[in-house]
């Protein structure tokens, strides 16, 4: 449609005011319908998200690189710190050696009964038979090694579990994380006794701990000698609170990738002796004879 030049110029002059009016309309629309604007913005952001990630990636790399460079710059200071720590540790090593010597002397003077050195065999874990419902591993053993049911399995750092089944060439070790594992433990700092109960999660729970002596976060957990075949003082792990009121044990042993374990045989280490004051049970087929002062007088009766 042909329009006159004057009309076109007038129209051209009207464009900007009209657009400014529309801008005010946009402001009002944004105030009235906030969700529409938000949706539009979010959709645009979603579209641009891959590009934003591409922008982020080199930044991350740069930050990593600069962190690395900083580490390298701090190498000297770190070395000095480590050297100082090493000297201090050497000092403590000397102290420990001296104390061990002193301990040995004192024990010798006190006629200390030494603990039996437990016998152990080492075996390689051949299969992790853990499933959804059990946590156990299978050990390869020689037919002529003496691995018994109830043997204690430890790795380099701590308690792994107990031998539950022994075959000719393999033994099954039930891990402490299994849901049927219940072990009496001692919490080292608070001196409380508790039961460590596995629940198939990587961290067994602590149950039956005294309510007036709560486990302390980070304290060491060791076995206590409540049951036979499990001596006191074997390292198990340390206490961690998953949330308030739910203490668990973080096992010291690397239970998720066990390679080699040692099976200790503590079976006959501490056998309770016969108690001398105990009333012996009567032989089968005879009534029990009580001592004379407890014998009931047949004539008078009990109260007569």
């Amino acid at each position: 449609m042909p329009v006159s030049i004057q009309f076109r110029q007038a129209l051209g002059k009207l464009v900007l005011p009209a657009l400014i009016l529309v801008a005010f309309g946009v402001i009002l629309l944004g105030k009235a319908d906030r969700t529409l604007v938000e949706k539009l913005r979010m959709q645009t952001a979603d579209l641009l998200a891959p590009a934003y990630r591409m922008v982020e990636w080199p930044q991350e790399k740069l930050r990593w690189l600069s962190g690395n460079l900083q580490d390298i710059r701090n190498l000297e200071a770190e070395n000095i710190r480590l050297r100082a720590e090493n000297t201090s540790l050497r000092h403590w090593y000397d102290v420990a050696a001296a104390l061990a010597d002193e301990n040995a002397t004192l024990k010798a003077n006190l006629h200390w009964i030494p603990d039996n050195a437990p016998t152990f065999v080492s075996g390689r874990v051949v299969r992790d038979t853990s499933g959804l419902y059990a946590r156990a591993v299978l050990l390869a053993i020689n037919p002529d090694t003496s691995v018994h049911k109830g043997g204690i399995a430890l790795d380099g750092a701590g308690l792994v579990g107990r031998v539950t089944e022994v075959g000719r060439r393999s033994a099954r070790v039930l891990l402490i994380t299994d849901s049927s594992s219940r072990l009496p433990v001692t919490l080292e700092a608070s001196h409380a006794a508790a039961i460590m109960a596995g629940d198939n999660s990587p961290m067994p729970r602590i149950i039956f701990y005294p309510q007036d002596n709560l486990p302390v976060e980070g304290e060491r957990v060791v076995t206590n000698g409540e049951i036979e075949s499990l001596p006191a003082g074997l390292p198990v792990g340390h206490v961690h609170y998953l949330r308030p009121g739910m203490p668990v044990v973080v096992p010291a042993a690397a239970l998720d990738h066990i390679d080699i374990v040692r099976i200790f045989d503590y079976e006959d280490s501490v056998a309770p002796p016969d108690a001398p004051g105990r009333v012996p049970l009567p032989p089968v087929g005879r009534t029990m004879v009580l001592p004379s002062q407890f014998q009931i007088n047949q004539d008078k009766g009990l109260h007569g």
């Binding site: 900007l16 657009l19 400014i20 402001i27 629309l29 105030k31 913005r41 922008v55 930044q59």
Partner: protein
Amino acid sequence: MKTFSPPPIRPGIHPRAGLGNRIDHGMRNSVPCLVVFFVTLVLSAPLNLPGQVELMPAIIMAMVFLWSVFAPALMPSVAVFVLGIWADILSFGPAGVMLLMMLIVHGVALSGRYTLARVNFFVLWLVFAMVMVGVTALQWVLCSALALHVVEFLPFVFETVLSVGSFPVLYAGFAWTYRFVINNADHS
């Protein structure tokens, strides 16, 4: 009747106005809008630059102002409107405020362009600073009104100072683009 045609700026032999020539012209002429478009896009990305939020309006306003003064044909009102909508989508302020600011800057530049295109650079800088003060004050008023409480005005002061301070650099970039990208094509 003989039609009037202006004498060529650079006399000589001109290439025929073929398809390639027209594409070249189109590309060169869309540079101002594309620059504003990409500046908005890039500054909305998570670059973690200090003052990135304030840098975006500063650069956009200076760009719109300069192109509206010196080459309004390459920065028409409708393009400013579209770019304003784009900037509003990518920034997370109240909707439409950025758009209104850009249109006002464009309008001021357009109305005063016959004097502004001839004045000294420092006078231009001063005019731009005054425009920015007015526009940022309007932005503050609008933001406060739309949020129904008085928002802090220090970021707005920072935005003004940043845009005024970055104007010379942007002017140098504009002059370079104008000389070597836009004006280098043969206007026959």
